[in-house]
Symmetry: C2
Subunit: 420 residues, 2 copies
Amino acid sequence: MAEARGRGFKELIRVEPALQRFFEALGETSRPVEQVPIMNALGRVLASDVKSKVDIPPFDRAAMDGYAVVAEDTFGSSSTNPLMFDIAGRVDIGGKAKVRGGRGRAVSIVTGAPIPPDTDAVIMLEYTRKPKELTVEILKAVTPGDNVSRKGEDVQKDSVILRRGTVLKPQDIGMLAGIGSTTVDVVLPPLVGVLSTGDELTQLGDALEQGKIYDVNRPVSLSLIREMGCIPMDLGICRDDPKAVATALREGLSKADVLLVSAGTSVGERDIVPSIVNSLGSPGVLVHGVAIRPAVPTGLAVIDGKPIVLLPGFPVAAMVAFDAFVKPLLNRLLGSEATPIPKVKARMLRRVPSHGGLRAYARVKVRRDGDNYVAEPLRVSGAGVISSMVKADGLLIIPEDKEGVEEGEVVEVILLRPVK
Amino acid sequence: MAEARGRGFKELIRVEPALQRFFEALGETSRPVEQVPIMNALGRVLASDVKSKVDIPPFDRAAMDGYAVVAEDTFGSSSTNPLMFDIAGRVDIGGKAKVRGGRGRAVSIVTGAPIPPDTDAVIMLEYTRKPKELTVEILKAVTPGDNVSRKGEDVQKDSVILRRGTVLKPQDIGMLAGIGSTTVDVVLPPLVGVLSTGDELTQLGDALEQGKIYDVNRPVSLSLIREMGCIPMDLGICRDDPKAVATALREGLSKADVLLVSAGTSVGERDIVPSIVNSLGSPGVLVHGVAIRPAVPTGLAVIDGKPIVLLPGFPVAAMVAFDAFVKPLLNRLLGSEATPIPKVKARMLRRVPSHGGLRAYARVKVRRDGDNYVAEPLRVSGAGVISSMVKADGLLIIPEDKEGVEEGEVVEVILLRPVK
């Protein structure tokens, strides 16, 4: 395969222009919309702006426990000059204000209860005294609106509260509930088919024969797809036979919205996938050989409007290609922005070489060093070394315009695991 | 409720000692273990260390396309002094090596194919020439082991590949597949019951009567629980009636492993939840009133071995209390570390006041400013303002030993949303 070095490719295209070429061929994409109960909408992508059908609060309400009054009546009151009010009654939470205020009258009120008619402010309980049953002394002046949450102050009716493309978080589900929405329109996520090719691959659960290995790329890709909120579709393992691969890809295209196929994607004699993809329709393979390490033998294709990503066979390279190409593709189809990922600044304990012109992904161990972080590249880190994926707790991406990272340099590292 | 200020509480306990008291009363916790297919294990927590039952690679294999040879035979070869070898045959990927090497013999081989007997190195294809059908010229010397992946080089049989407590990521699922595991032992996540109390609360889907509002805390908590990989259990809304609350809590305790109850948790006349919790068993409420803003009226209780968290009624305060207390509790029950969260350094555009001795949570808007980030506190940000939860794209936590954050100060902000 020789894929870690990019030998055999006449020309390597950088990640950004590769994605641009891919997305241009794909054209405008729009996914169907589906209506789901809000309690099933966590992590889904909003298909359209959500406007509030109600005001929040839906009525003027007390923001403090105390007494609702006409503010003007309290002017001049202080602890040395308390003013006396008649207690006209009490408003409870969750009901109508059945009592009225008015000049010289105070209405006992609790936080969240509706402000009674003929009052315009709430005086907090601690600035009052109650000398007898139906009388209250006010020890501080308030101005109109004090300690009152106005109707619509939090959310105004007909205002947009959540934008299309938002990946719904718990607080968004709360907001939808707050405005009384029982359902919400979200994007129907794409169905992403995943096919692994290779005569050496054995189906999980089957005994391992001499010369065979278990397939790693499919379980990883299917899990990454699920993690992104898309629908994974397992297309199984296909042996390195042109007819079988063509049939599997054709079947995958008929069922899925996006196709990922791993291995056989380089330029060797056994790398049959690119030409088979080209035989399936047009425009075919648009990008083949990318300036990214370790994922050079990545291909990007479009067949009759459906995107296909050709992933390298080496597991680490396949994961890197997923990160660099499949993630942006799926976000584009979902109509959402990439969610923020945890990163820290870390001081490198060893040099990491890389070639200028290639974007490089290095797996690192991260640990705390006092208030700071230090990172060390994993010693064994070939694209075929599966254990490096699980031993790494961080990922260092070295951009194209840099030739390696020096020992002692402070770099930004993506955190994959909790750091000890 | 007066909860945002902590009035009424005699003493406020800081977050860390509060958690310590809570966890001590809870004692050692251990969750049942469940065996699941690896493709259902994404995001689950490993219940025990996983050892590999196999070597990876399971056999010595070629790391490059080329010819397997006895390294010693190549010594002295160069492009000006090529050495001739007989081609003894070919080994394909996925099968047994049916051909043997030996002195003066070269075996054609592809990456991933088993190294044939009586060879100890692979010479890369580009350092060879093929003058005729069954002869190859070697243009470079190799040493034993060159371009060979040794059996067990990546993963050694019986070595621990994943540690107990690991939250399984896509790469871990790939690793489990790689070693041939079809199932994995994971922690059975706790069932977390969520009850909202309040006469003003209306069930989603019902019409909103005068003076009522829709419940926000329950949908938020249920979503946060799900996001953490635990099992949410909706216990509904309960009105502010001591008997009804006691019944609902007792029922919740009988069904769930953890109970969250929101509102009625402060020290006012209508704050009936703490004393009801105390009446249910022992030791009862261990912490009531916490030095955290806006979530002072939080309570932590243990009843007959089961943890109960009393969440403030204001939605923002309830979310803050979830972050500070429920998350560490659920991670403890799951036996996992908190997963890393995305943070950035941002320069504050305005001052954020806070009281020394209290941990403060401020909601901020974050945006890019060239290569850096700037953050601005939301102007309307009371604990009751639901919209501030969804408008915020960042969270600023001001520790207890700081009194506010100054304008221009660079602080660490937790990212809740993609930043524009």
